[in-house]
């Protein structure tokens, strides 16, 4: 079977969860005998050649130029029957065209793919809620509150400059292309439910967790006599949706006696690209933490995926603070793979993957005091860490993920 996988980015140039999952699927399928996959990652114009939106990195990997912004989601390259896009697809001649995400690529690409390869099955993996929510697809209201449903009226409340009719037109437009999709893949039930509520037929949406490269559980960190499991670590991007500020606030408010027993290591990237207010806030919290208790909080900066096992080895807990729903955070799967329980908010995709006693612990979303209480409980030895590790769910291997997809393609 020949499968063309489109992704809104190429992981060589962008490290988001979506493109990593797409690339992992590409690798997973190619590793299976009798199947071939192509990876087509959307790229910025300056990475392409003059005069063509298509550039091949090698025989199996392409870059494609499009810039479908969040409000319009419209492709910006020619997609006609005699386009470079069409030539590329005809060359690949796929049985399955699998879109990982639609933002940046553009919805019209789905139609063009169907038109150029009428017999190919169209699969679309959903990531955030970009088709549903104009606020970067986060389903958070523009005033910061969590959003539970979308409608032209509700969304107009967040975007008063955009009329209800225009918000509705966007929805109609998105759905007119989603109608062409044979099967949707969602990495979480939570994400699926939101899209089904919005209008996708439930039977067309299959849940497949993101696959990870093979790996195994790490031994527990050796604990000195009389010490608690008080080493926490944050892994991932840093932006205002991810709640690193909330985690820092929780640590800063800990009783003095607890502070001595816990630490927080931050392995996070992109802080430098955030808005100044947020950057200043994080820096100020880090400064306060340093003043309060030297070495309680340590900021390490960015990390490479290959390092993750080594970094997790030295910690007891993976902590998340996300203020939005999340979909299926890869860091949770990574923590499961390496055998580290996760502490995360009790909403959305996080609450689906981590439940108290099964994979980790939850705190009340957006509530630093709730996280603080949890840390105190842990420091006071009130949490059965060993049981958490023992009952931790398994993760989905890349090869299993690829198999699951092949089943779906057939």
């Amino acid at each position: 079977m020949r499968i063309a996988i489109f992704s809104h980015a190429h992981p060589d140039f962008s490290k988001g969860g979506g493109e990593i999952a797409a690339y992992s699927l590409f690798e997973g399928i190619n590793a299976l005998p009798g199947h071939e996959a192509w990876f087509i990652g959307r790229a910025e114009q300056q990475m392409l050649h003059l005069g063509s939106p298509v550039a091949s990195l090698n025989a199996r990997e392409y870059l494609i130029g499009s810039n479908a912004d969040i409000p319009r989601l419209s492709a910006t390259l020619a997609l006609g029957e005699d386009s470079d896009f069409a030539d590329m697809l005809r060359t690949i001649d796929p049985d399955v065209i699998h879109f990982h995400h639609y933002v940046f690529l553009g919805l019209e690409m789905i139609h063009a793919a169907k038109r150029i390869c009428p017999r190919a099955k169209i699969v679309l993996t959903l990531h955030e809620f970009i088709g549903i929510c104009l606020n970067s697809g986060q389903m958070i209201k523009t005033d910061g509150r969590l959003c539970y449903r979308s409608s032209p009226r509700d969304c107009h409340g967040c975007f008063p400059q955009t009329s209800m009719e225009d918000i509705f037109l966007r929805e109609v437009y998105v759905k007119s292309f989603f109608d062409l999709v044979d099967t949707f893949v969602s990495p979480s039930d939570f994400l699926k439910d939101r899209y089904v509520t919005w209008g996708l037929p439930a039977d067309k949406v299959i849940v497949i967790e993101n696959g990870l490269e093979d790996g195994h559980r790490l031994p527990l960190r050796r604990l000195p006599e009389g010490k608690q499991r008080g080493r926490f670590a944050y892994f991932g991007q840093i932006n205002h949706f991810k709640g690193i500020d909330l985690i820092l606030e929780a640590f800063l408010g800990l009783p003095k006696a607890v502070r001595k027993q816990v630490s927080l290591d931050i392995y996070g990237s992109s802080l430098e690209y955030q808005q100044e207010d947020f950057r200043n806030k994080v820096h100020e919290l880090l400064r306060q933490a340093d003043k309060q208790a030297e070495r309680m909080v340590r900021f390490h900066g960015a990390y490479e995926r290959q390092e993750l096992g080594g970094l997790m080895e030295g910690v007891d807990w993976v902590v998340m603070g996300s203020k939005w729903w999340e979909n299926s955070p890869v860091v949770i799967q990574e923590a499961f793979k390496f055998g580290r329980p996760v502490i995360c908010p009790d909403i959305g995709g996080m609450a689906e993957k981590v439940q108290p006693g099964r994979g980790g612990l939850n705190f009340r979303a957006r509530d630093s005091l709730s996280l603080q209480n949890l840390i105190v409980d842990i420091a006071e030895g009130q949490v059965d860490y060993d049981a958490l590790v023992r009952d931790m769910p398994s993760f989905l291997r890349q090869s299993d993920c690829a198999e699951a997809h092949l089943k779906l393609y057939n």
Binding site: L79, E108, S163, L180
Partner: protein, 604 residues
């Protein structure tokens, strides 16, 4: 305008006529002088040895704004006054140099031999000018002036008339604007406070003789600004102090024109009407006229009469001008027309060209479009370039054939559809708004089936707002008590959930937002009536023409489309010219019903 008192010549006509007219001095209300009247016609002088010792001459007599103004010169007399019926009246006398007198009589020592006498609020009576100590003789001389109040044998010279007039004894008034409507005559806006309820008639005068009584073409308008301004001095002034009137027949813009309010015994008030040929487009003229109506909300109860009495006919007279010159349409064909087309779909685009993209996204999945002749009509020159660009991209993407028709004008809804219909190749025609989006494929087939049933003249689908509530399920006529005189269209159940089934319903009227009829019928009826300016009522007009032919109007509620109507106006407050235009169109619609050109909308 002038409170006009007529002066009758008492003698010496030749001498007087030379001086008979005088331009008003700055600061003094302009004066209308019909005639100067001189006793004997020549100066009265006292001479000694051929040298004038004293003399007096009256050069002009003028009555303006009920002010009597006398000018002349006086030498050797130390007092001059004015009497009415033998009683001295208050007069302001000013002296000024008269170089001409000085030249003729170089021995005179008084440099200010000229005089001007102003009597305000002059009332009817026998007037005299009296000079005392005449010629150093101690004599008193009276010069009688015969003044006849209140008659009008001839119009005054019109040039130099004011556009504002105030007289506490009669009226305060002004002309704000006159619109030259070509064959539609003249529309004059202004305000007039009839302080003593004395105005008996209003007449329009042209320099070269024409006089028209416009009393019954005079319509009161609300002028809150005028009322607020005048009330401190004239408490009786109400907000209904504005007016608009119409003068029928083409008015020569090169002539001088005046308006005259006849206040009976209180005189006549004359105002200059500044008429200029209109330079802008006819549509702009209509817009300007309607924009000029002050505070239309305050005369809501009489708006129909406003159009019926004054505005309607002049606008109707020029509205054919708006569409008279059919622009040359250009066509761009994307792809190949279907071999067999069942229906031509015409979609006018104005402003929001991107609706094309949203419609196409739904058309692309509808098999009916393989046998559909789709025409977008660009009724907005400003969007032509991006529309063609988007059209090319849509064709490239979907390969769905269609045509784009354009011309360098905005013709309005009716005109755009009529232009599109010229190109129709299919036996059925669907008029479709650009903000109407089908929900599911097959809607065209459903509508066509209904149109093929016997006796059916037109078919409309169920139109819904984005939330599924009814936007259109047929329309019905309504006489709105808030807009007496008009017949408005209402959408029963608008905003409510659809109460019916997927059935067919005979309805009194259908919207043209999505309306299917036979192409031949459309052409026989002359298409949509472009006399409705920009567009309202042309759809119900078309429907009533179909009903006049005993054809049925059917709502087929099975096909459902979204209508993302946003521009549609309500008339709760009449805040823009667009509202006024709707009312003009409404007036026109009603007149066509009254004339039985259209079927009675209430008749079954």
């Amino acid at each position: 305008m002038v409170g006009f008192l007529k002066l009758n010549k008492q003698g010496g006509p030749e001498a007087a006529q030379e001086e008979g007219q005088e331009a008003p001095s700055p600061g003094v209300p302009p004066i209308m002088v019909e005639d100067a009247l001189l006793p004997g016609g020549l100066p009265i002088t006292v001479e000694q040895a051929g040298v004038m010792l004293s003399g007096v001459n009256l050069d002009t007599i003028a009555l303006l704004n009920r002010s009597l103004t006398l000018t002349g010169w006086l030498a050797g007399s130390d007092q001059i006054e004015v009497l009415r019926d033998g009683e001295r009246v208050r007069a302001r006398v000013s002296r000024e140099p008269r170089p001409d007198v000085q030249v003729a009589h170089p021995h005179l020592t008084d440099e200010n031999s000229g005089f001007k006498i102003l009597v305000q609020n002059a009332r009817p009576g026998q007037y005299h000018v009296r000079c005392h100590n005449f010629g150093g003789t101690g004599l008193v001389r009276d010069f009688p002036l015969a003044i006849e109040f209140g008659s009008l044998d001839a119009a005054p010279p019109l040039l130099g008339l004011p556009s504002y007039f105030e007289d506490s004894q009669s009226i305060v008034c002004a002309i704000d604007k006159a619109f030259h409507m070509g064959e539609g005559g003249l529309i004059v806006f202004g305000w007039m406070a009839d302080l003593h309820a004395s105005v008996q008639s209003v007449s329009f005068h042209s320099e070269r003789g024409g006089t028209v009584d416009v009393t019954d073409k005079f319509f009161r308008l609300a002028r809150l600004d005028v009322a607020a301004n005048l009330k401190t001095r004239f408490p009786q002034v109400t907000e209904m102090s504005g007016f608009v009137l119409r003068v029928d027949g083409e008015v020569n813009a090169n002539e001088v024109h005046a308006l005259c309010f006849d206040c009976g015994d209180r005189g006549k008030a004359w105002l200059l009407v500044d008429v200029e040929a209109e330079a802008g487009s006819p549509l702009q003229l209509v817009k300007d006229v309607l924009t000029f109506v002050p505070a239309p909300d305050r005369i809501r109860y009489s708006l129909f009469d406003l159009f019926d009495k004054v505005l309607g006919e002049p606008i109707s007279a020029i509205s054919p001008e708006i569409s008279r010159f059919r622009p040359q349409a250009q066509v761009k064909q994307f792809g190949t027309l279907p071999q067999v087309a069942d229906v031509t779909v015409i979609v006018p685009l104005y402003g929001r060209y991107d609706f094309l993209k949203y419609q196409m996204a739904k058309f692309k999945d509808d098999a009916d479009f393989a046998r559909t002749d789709l025409i977008y009509v660009v009724d907005d020159p400003d969007i032509l370039s991006p529309t063609l660009e988007m059209a090319a991209a849509q064709y490239d993407l979907y390969g769905l054939p269609f045509r784009v028709v354009w011309y360098n004008r905005n013709m309005g809804f009716a005109g755009a559809n009529n232009m599109g219909a010229l190109f129709a190749v299919a036996p059925k025609l669907l008029l479709l708004n650009s903000d109407v989006i089908p929900q599911k494929p097959g809607w065209l087939t459903d509508m066509m089936e209904t149109l093929d049933e016997p006796g059916v003249g037109a078919v409309g689908p169920l139109l819904q707002f984005f939330d599924g509530s009814v936007q259109h399920a047929g329309m019905r006529p309504k006489e709105d008590p808030y807009f007496p005189g008009f017949v408005l269209n209402v959408h029963p159940g608008k905003g409510a959930p659809w109460w019916g089934s997927d059935d067919r319903y005979d309805v009194p009227l259908l919207t043209a937002a999505c309306l299917m009829l036979r192409t031949a019928t459309y052409r026989e009826l002359g298409g949509l009536d472009e006399g409705y300016i920009i567009g309202d009522f042309e759809d119900s007009d078309l429907c009533l023409k179909l009903r006049k032919r005993k054809l049925k109007l059917v709502l087929n509620a099975k096909p459902k489309l979204w209508h993302l109507e946003r521009q549609s106006q309500n008339l709760q407050s009449i805040t823009s010219y667009r509202h006024m235009l709707t009312l003009y169109n409404g007036w026109r619609y009603k007149k066509k019903i009254d004339s039985t050109e259209l079927a009675d909308p209430w008749e079954n």
